[in-house]
């Protein structure tokens, strides 16, 4: 891709590099969790609330479970849920946006107004409703957040499609008689991908926050399976005795979300069309705020 050099340039800044390195390490650790974790994350023992150091790198929780092993295994769950949700949201959103942007009349109205209906739901309330109906669990989380975050993708793509459709190369393609499917998939889609990519990295961060929040409320990943949000909830109860439990679990969430945001910023700068051709920039919509 022609924008690769600018991407590399962005990554030369120490902040971006550090964020990328942290996330890379996290992802590797999560993938290799069963080998990285020194203990079974579910194994209870009588060594409760040990301080960090010694046999347990980050100490143990009130069940005598190894905190480091739980963080690493929790990363696996949390990353899977966040990427799954962001991926699903991107797929749904891009599809809806493409259809909405290239249709006329009723179809456009149905798709884009439908998106606005989803936007009208406060995310936490919507998640509460779905979890109450279908029961908590990782799959419920992915589907719920996939639906919740799809509108921001759809709107970006919709806007981009409207702009791109009037550009000469698209008209040229139309003139030479390309099928509608070909124009959509081969001509317009590549043009809308850069902002989608930026939105994707932002959505991963937001999904991670929301899934941690739901797990914290007992509506996400079901214990004893470790999840960061669940670990924060457990740590909070023991804030006075073992403040480190809370610090580790919330620290890792903050760090991960921050890194994804830094990465998204870098990506946005690298892919900013203003640095390349003179096309109107597409500002990624902020994902729904989680509050």
């Amino acid at each position: 891709m022609s924008r690769l050099p600018s991407l590399l340039r962005e990554f030369r800044s120490p902040g971006t590099l550090a964020a990328a390195a942290f996330l890379g390490l996290l992802i590797v650790a999560a993938v290799l969790a069963p080998w990285v974790a020194p203990y079974d994350p579910l194994a209870q023992s009588s060594h409760r609330l040990l301080s960090p150091g010694g046999a347990h790198l980050l100490g143990t929780d009130q069940f005598g479970r190894d905190v480091f092993s739980r963080l690493v295994t929790g990363a696996r769950v949390d990353l899977l849920v966040s990427f799954g949700a962001a991926g699903l949201a991107a797929f749904l959103g891009v599809s809806i946006g493409l259809v909405g942007g290239t249709s006329r009349g009723l179809v456009r109205m149905l798709t884009m107004r439908g998106i606005e209906v989803i936007l009208a739901f406060p995310p936490i309330v919507f998640a509460l409703l779905v979890v109450t109906l279908f029961g908590p669990g990782a799959l419920t989380l992915v589907v719920t957040m996939g639906i919740l975050f799809a509108p921001s993708f759809a709107r970006i793509v919709y806007g981009e499609v409207l702009t791109i459709s009037n550009l000469e190369y698209v008209q040229a393609s139309r003139v030479i008689g390309s099928s509608r499917r070909r124009i959509l998939g081969r001509v317009i889609l590549p043009g809308v991908l850069p902002p989608v990519l930026v939105q994707l990295s932002l959505t991963v961060a937001t999904a991670m926050l929301l899934s941690s929040g739901l797990s914290y409320l007992g509506l996400g990943v079901v214990p004893p399976t470790p999840s960061w949000g669940g670990m924060i909830a457990e740590g909070q109860a023991l804030m006075m005795q073992s403040p480190l439990l809370l610090l580790f679990s919330s620290g890792v969430v903050v760090a991960t979300v921050l890194c994804f945001s830094v990465l998204a910023d870098a990506l946005e700068r690298a892919l900013d069309p203003r640095r390349g051709r003179g096309r109107r920039p597409a500002t990624p919509a902020k994902p729904l705020s989680v509050s």
């Binding site: 579910l42 194994a43 209870q44 009588s46 409760r48 009130q62 069940f63 005598g64 109450t132 029961g135 908590p136 409320l217 007992g218 079901v222 214990p223 004893p224 909830a233 457990e234 909070q236 109860a237 023991l238 804030m239 006075m240 005795q241």
Partner: protein
């Protein structure tokens, strides 16, 4: 029997609660204190829960019991040791635990100045035995056959059958005598005959009462005012006591015990009151319909681990019958019946036809972390004998609903007896207990022993009956005791006369606020 919905911290939406409570503490701090200087002064009490619509005869949790116990009095009450003592009735006679003649004190009045007569007693008891009223004392009040009032100061209560539990139940704060005209009213009038009368209530914030000069004990209460500050968040409540913005709190958090104990001017008044237990679905579809499987669980679970992981190391393991040591019916052998023996557990499972274990549904709630953590601790232990538990941890109301519907194989629950008298066990071992009881468990032997236990008049005979019941229940194991929960009040050491009534009666401790006084 009451469920402890006001206990512990709410894990769901805890953050919001913490913020609100923190704001409350801040207001309390800046509001200026300057109390308990002259005379009786003000007692500032950090209460664990709000009671938006106080209905005295109903079971509304421990915070309502605290408010009821300062506003109201019944014919009898509990003293600091948990003994039944005269209250509005100065004395009574009973015939075979079936006919009770209560003699009221002379010159009793309610807070509004109206006279308290035997007519009010009759009206109150009529209300308690009305199934529509959902009174907490209904289990004994339904046995009332008639109430006669030969004169203004005498009430004769006739029971259909002898009931040894009648007086202990009546001493509960929900047995308070109410002005006949306020009974069944939609909005609480707060008018009673207790040591303090109502001043003001601000929802979610405060409940203020003042000394009632016509209280039947001439020297009580010592305090002019009690200001209940509603502090539902546990750490905010603990901090309010530690920082001196309140003088006394209920439900001291386990994690704050050391801090309160070590503080130079604070007292930690603790008892083992409520307890955690396992209940089984005993219907034929459940693997736990076989008593041997239930016994296997009883031998597999490490009770000390439950105390350490779920109750913050406070409280005590419960290896047998849930009977408080302070009860006259405590039996040491039955209190320590089981021990952890994984080989025996596996053997029992094999005998029951599950040599390789099985998978079952565990129900608990994520709303209270000690409920969830108890379930997790049990899950870890049962895994060792091959029983895999699938966790279902919904919010508290859903937990109660699923429990009542029997949508579980094994469930964690916490409760407290109404009295230290074992008559309350019908609320845990028979279908009358609803969600407190193991689903589908209706054992004729248990029912018969419970009936006999209440009907018997002689203490020794009753003790023998309840020992027999204990033996049967431990063998059948429809419920399995896990751990005693520690329940503590914390207060400044200048308060004397307040007492945490031991055992199940800990939530009746508000009775002793009448005799509490600043040094």
């Amino acid at each position: 029997m009451r469920t402890l919905s006001s206990g512990g911290a709410r894990s769901a939406l805890r953050l919001a609660a913490a913020t609100t409570a923190a704001a409350l503490v801040l207001t309390a701090c800046s509001g200026g204190s300057g109390s308990e200087d002259n005379g009786g002064g003000t007692l500032r009490f950090g209460l664990d829960s709000d009671v938006p619509n106080l209905v005295t005869p109903q079971n509304q949790g421990s915070a309502s019991m605290m408010l009821n116990s300062v506003l109201h009095r019944g014919l009898v009450a509990y003293d600091a040791d948990g003994e039944v003592v005269p209250a509005l009735a100065e004395r009574w006679e009973e015939e075979g635990n079936q006919v009770f003649t209560f003699h009221l004190r002379e010159g009793l009045t309610f807070h509004d100045g109206s006279d308290l007569t035997s007519d009010d007693v009759k009206a109150t008891f009529e209300h308690l035995r009305d199934p529509e009223a959902v009174a907490k004392l209904f289990p004994v009040a339904e046995g009332i056959e008639s109430i006669e009032t030969p004169d203004e100061l005498t009430a004769v209560v006739q029971l259909a059958e002898p009931d040894a539990a009648f007086l202990p139940y009546l001493a509960d704060v929900s047995g308070a005598i109410l002005p006949s005209e306020s009974i069944g009213a939609d909005d609480p009038t707060y008018v009673g005959a207790g040591p303090f009368s109502f001043v003001s209530y601000e929802q979610g914030s405060s409940f203020v009462v003042e000394r009632f000069d016509e209280y039947y004990e001439p020297d009580e209460p010592a305090y002019d005012t009690i200001e209940f500050q509603i502090l539902p968040d546990q750490s905010a409540r603990d901090n309010a006591l530690l920082s001196g913005s309140v003088d006394m709190i209920s439900f001291v958090g386990w994690s704050s015990y050391d801090q309160v104990e070590n503080a130079a001017n604070l007292v930690l008044d603790e008892t083992e009151g409520p307890f955690m237990y396992l209940q089984f679905n005993t219907t034929p579809e459940s693997p736990f319909s076989d008593p041997r499987v239930r016994q296997a669980v009883a031998y597999a679970v490490d009770r000390q681990a439950v105390v350490d992981s779920a109750l913050g190391g406070e409280g005590a393991p419960l290896w047998g019958m849930p009977m408080p040591e302070s009860s006259d019916f405590y039996n040491d052998d039955q209190a320590n019946y089981y021990e952890q023996d994984l080989d025996k557990a596996r053997q029992l499972l094999a005998e029951a036809g599950y040599p390789d274990g099985f998978t079952a549904r565990m129900l608990s709630s994520s709303q209270y972390d000690f409920h969830q953590n108890t379930a997790l601790s049990v899950q870890g232990d049962l895994e060792k004998i091959g029983i895999e538990l699938e966790m279902n941890l919904p919010d508290w109301p859903t937990r109660l609903q699923l429990g009542a519907e029997g949508a579980y194989d094994i469930a964690v629950y916490g409760t407290v007896g109404v009295t230290n008298d074992p008559a309350w066990l019908d609320q845990m071992l028979t279908p009358a207990g609803s969600q407190n009881a193991p689903f589908g468990y209706d054992d004729p032997t248990v029912n018969e022993l419970l009936d006999r236990g209440r009907a018997a008049a002689d203490e020794d005979e009753r003790k023998a009956i309840y020992d027999e019941l204990g033996e049967h229940v431990l063998e059948q194991a429809p419920i399995i005791g896990l751990a005693w929960r520690s329940q503590a009040y914390g207060y400044v050491d200048t308060i004397e006369g307040f007492s945490n009534i031991p055992g199940f009666l800990t939530f009746d401790s508000g009775y002793t606020l009448a005799s509490a006084a600043p040094k």
